[in-house]
Every structure is written in C-alpha cells, then in structure tokens.
C-alpha cells in the first residue's frame, strides 16, 4: 500500500518518500525471506537450469534471424519455426560430417575385457619407438622406468574409460529430454518473449519501473551482443580451421576443427585447449601431418581470429578490461571448470550492467531529492 505523498510547503512535486529505520529493517527482512524462498524453489527446480540456459542460448542466437524473417513479412510463428529448422539442419549436417570419425573410433574401441583397441596398440608402438630413440640418444637416463609409468597411467585411463562408457551413454540419453525441453522453451520465448518481458515488468511498482526497464534492456543487450558475437566468431574460426586441416591432410579434420571452434569460446586459454587435442593426435597417428605444420596452422588461424575476426565481429560486444577477463576466467575455472570459464564472461557483463544501472538509480535519486526552495516573497515596494 502506498503512503500518502508529502509535499514540501509550496512545492508542486511530492518529496521523495524516506523510509524510517523500522520500515527499512522490515523491508530488508521481507527481501531476505523472498530471496531465500526463491533460492529454495530454484534448488527444487534445479533440473530445469540446464534446459533453461540452453533455451536462452538458442533464443539469443536465433532471435535476429527470426526478427529478420518477420521483417520480410513472415508471420512470427513461421519465422521461429524456420529458424528452429535451420539450426536443427545445421546440427544434423555437422553430426553427419563428424560421425565417420567417431564411428571409426568406436569401431576401434575394445569389445571385451582385456582386449586392446587398435588405437592403444598404435599408441604403445609409438611409445616404444620413442623409448628406443631416447634410450639410444641418452643412455644414462632410466627411460624404461619412466615409460613403464606412462604405460600404467594409460592402462588405468583405458580401464576407467571402458568401465565408464555405459554410464556415459546413459548420461547422454538422459540429456535428450533436456535438449527437447530446451527447444520447446526456446520456441515459446522466441514467439512471446517481448510479451513475457512486458508481463514481468507489469509487476514492478511505478517508482522502479523505468529503472527496471533500463536494467533489463542493458542486460539483454550485453548477453545478446556477447552470444551472437561469440557464435559468429567461432563458426568462422571453425570453418577456417577445417579448411586449413583439410589442406594439410589431417585425419578427422572436421572433428578437430569443431573441437578447436568450441574450445575457442573460452578467452585466452581456449585456443591452447583446442589445439592440444589435434597436436596430441598428430603425435600418435602416423597419417597425421607433422607437428610443426599443424602447430603453424593453429597459430595462423588463431592470429587471423585475434587480428581480424574478433575485432570486427566482437567490436560491438563487451566493454571489458583484459585484466577483468583474465581474473574472471581464473575464478570461473576454479568454481565451475570449463563450463565456469565459458559462463563467467557473460555473467560479469550482466553483473556490470546491473551494478551500473543501480548506481545510476542512486545518483538519479540524489538529484531528484534536492531540497525544494520556495520562492522568496518579493521585497516590499517603497511606499
């Protein structure tokens, strides 16, 4: 319930209502209770977090395309369905492209306990070659013991992989439901997103309405600019990497290009993580191009990304100091691993938008609360 507005004597605009200490304490307690209840509900519904994040990601990436189609005269629902079909087609095409590599690997996997895969045999042969080469060059070092330890580690890894495969397959199947749910949520958000935002804003009291609107708008812009920029940049990087790897004759070129493109989403550390997979593979597979040629391809693609693609595509994205990004990635990695590293930058950007809006709101309130000065009565005219 709103309290009656107080007008300073002679003023035309009510003074900014100031809460008493008691009201402030009650307000803070209510806020804490509501926040705790919201956290409790969020904990109960935590299984929805992944589909919701996925749906938002899809929504932000597809929204410009849906808006563009609608602008060309397509009904909204047709535009949204067309975009959904487009992304599904792109993913299916990517899957079809990558599947042969994965199938080869799966066929090489051991079928019975104790049986060794072709990949392991190849790896062991390579390790023995390296051991022999190093032992010939540096005979005083105990290479046999060192390589024995490496073999032990690899054997342990192989066993855990074989034992974990059924669980991995079941886990992947359980995510099918989440992916479907994310698609359905994304469809409705794309279709009715602005109406949902308006419905949410209707619940905001009048005195906070404009500020809430500005804040939502800034958050929306930050996330949108970051996600669209990131997806566009990394699709281009993936295409470039695939072309380079195909040109070098790298086996499973598309798979390693996709790995590099996905890892490239992580600022700074991403290119190293993405390149490591291909470089390690080239060490083990005799059909792979030489390590030097492959490293050069990764460096060239990364330089093209850093010098041309990133500044153009991400130019209108986040206004963030590199030190903030580095510290953020370290914190994100510590808190949530690779997912934390991926999510921390948009999270910082959203936090920045919220904090800057709140600070502006406080400054606005200070300007608006300037004391009203009634006009001084005119001096009596001399009789």
């Amino acid at each position: 319930m709103s309290s009656p507005q107080a007008y300073p004597p002679g003023a035309l605009v009510p003074a900014v209502a100031r809460k008493t200490l008691g009201e402030q304490v009650v307000g803070a307690l209510l806020f804490a209770l509501v926040a705790a209840a919201a956290l409790g509900v969020a904990w109960i519904l935590r299984f929805l977090v992944a589909p919701l994040i996925g749906a938002l990601l899809v929504t932000y990436v597809l929204r410009p395309f849906a808006d563009g189609l609608e602008n060309r005269g397509a009904p909204r629902w047709v535009a949204v369905l067309a975009c959904g079909g487009l992304i599904t087609g792109a993913l299916v095409a990517l899957g079809v492209g990558v599947w042969p590599s994965l199938e080869t690997w799966l066929q090489q996997a051991p079928h019975a306990q104790g049986e060794r895969s072709a990949f392991e045999v190849q790896l062991e042969t390579r390790l023995l070659e390296w051991q022999a080469g190093l032992a010939g060059r540096y005979p005083n070092v105990d290479w046999a013991s060192l390589f024995h330890k490496i073999q032990d580690v690899l054997h342990h890894q192989r066993r855990s992989l074989v034992e974990g495969l059924p669980a991995l397959a079941l886990g992947a199947l359980s995510h099918v439901g989440s992916v479907g749910l994310a698609g359905v949520i994304a469809y409705f958000v794309l279709l009715e997103g602005s109406a949902m935002k308006n419905a949410l804003l209707q619940r905001v009291p009048n005195r906070h309405f404009e500020r809430a609107l500005i804040m939502l708008d800034r958050v929306d812009r930050q996330i949108s600019a970051y996600l669209i920029g990131t997806v566009a940049e990394n699709v281009l990087v993936t295409i470039l990497m695939a072309l380079a790897l195909f040109a070098l004759g790298m086996p499973n070129a598309l798979l390693f290009a996709v790995l590099f493109g996905v890892a490239n989403v992580i600022p700074f550390a991403g290119p190293f993580i993405g390149a490591a997979a291909g470089l390690l593979f080239s060490l083990l597979d005799p059909a792979a191009p030489s390590l030097g040629a492959l490293a050069a391809a990764y460096v060239v693609v990364h330089l093209v990304d850093a010098m041309f693609i990133n500044p153009v595509v991400m130019g209108r994205s986040l206004d963030m100091h590199p030190m903030t990004v580095i510290v953020g990635i370290a914190v994100g990695g510590t808190l949530g691993g690779v997912l934390g590293m991926l999510g921390i930058i948009p999270a910082i950007a959203v936090g920045k938008a919220i904090v800057s809006t709140v600070i502006e709101g406080v400054q606005d309130a200070q300007v608006a609360a300037r004391e009203f000065k009634p006009r001084a009565p005119p001096p009596p005219s001399p009789a």
Partner: protein, 177 residues
C-alpha cells in the same frame, strides 16, 4: 479455445486491444499515418501503467527511457529552476503525450511529471522502438519519421519562445512589468 482448456501461458495481448486504447494511439502525432492493424500491433509493445493521484511518473534529472501517452487521467509537468523553485509548465489530459525526447537518448528528464487524477498511461520506450524497427522496419521508419517531425516542431516552439523572451528582456523595465 474450449472453456475447459487450461492456458499455461496467456500473453497480455490475448485479451485484445480496446477501442479506447486505439483511440489514444490514433490521436497521438507519433503514430500519425498508421493503419488500425499497425496500431494494434504497436499496442502489443506498449506498457500499460496505472497511477494514483500525487504519484510521480518521473522526476526531473532522472535518466529517461521513453514517452507516455495519457489514455485516461491528468498529469502536471513541473520544472524545477536552478534556484530550486518549481513552476508548472502544463497540465496534460486524455490522448495527450509527454517525454518523447527520451525515445531518442537516455538523457536526464528536463521536468518532473506528477499525476493529478487517477490515470492510465501507455509507455513506449527505446527498447520497444528498437524492437519495432527490427521486426517491422516499415512501421518503425514511419514512427521514427513522425518522431523527427515532432522534434522539429518542438525545436521551432522553443526557438519562438526564446525569441519572445529575448525581446521581453530588451524592453525597458516599466514596459515589461
């Protein structure tokens, strides 16, 4: 829709656009030249706000985000001078609008707006205008064109008012009083 059907999500516009809302939009120079179909589409983007008497819509100096149309009610536009005194600039009633310059940039409001009678205001904000341009560039261009013309009119009015003020200052004290 069957009466027994349960709608999990019902958008606010599902109830349709009232004739009163349409009349408000038709009377607004910002939406001049738009068909009823365009106005109905536009209405879905607007924010309906209900105010009680003495409520402040916005205060002078606060960052503005958009404009309001008065569907019903009455508001005062009040300016605070540098010396801290206040002056009422104008009283606005049904079908009138205010705050249109904030559609162009997030600048501080040049005056305050206080509600005098129970009012229903329709708000349109920068983000709504951008969305309109992205989803229907023809409609968005028409609204922006009208906004440019309105800004021109406001500038001419301001310029005329400054000329009168300057002319008044030039007059001797006894003539001015």
């Amino acid at each position: 829709m069957l009466e027994t059907e349960i709608a999990l999500w019902k958008p606010p516009e599902a109830s349709g656009v009232t004739e009163d809302e349409l009349a408000t939009l038709r009377a607004t120079p910002l939406f001049k030249g738009l068909s009823d179909g365009d106005l109905k589409r536009l209405r879905k983007m607007l924010h309906v706000r209900h105010f009680t008497p003495d409520e402040v819509v916005f205060r002078q100096g606060q960052t503005g985000a958009g404009m309001y149309l008065i569907q019903q009610g009455e508001v005062d536009i009040v300016m605070r001078r540098d010396d801290g005194t206040e002056v009422k600039l104008v009283t606005l009633k049904d079908r009138q609008f205010f705050g249109e310059l904030a559609l162009l940039e997030e600048a501080p409001r040049s005056a305050s707006c206080v509600v005098r009678k129970p009012s229903v205001l329709l708000g349109i904000f920068q983000s709504d205008l951008e969305l309109l341009v992205e989803r229907s560039s023809r409609l968005g261009a028409r609204v922006l064109w009208n906004l440019a013309r309105l800004t021109g009119v406001r500038l001419r009015e301001l310029s005329a008012s400054i000329r009168v003020d300057v002319a008044k200052r030039a007059l001797p004290e006894e003539v001015r009083s």
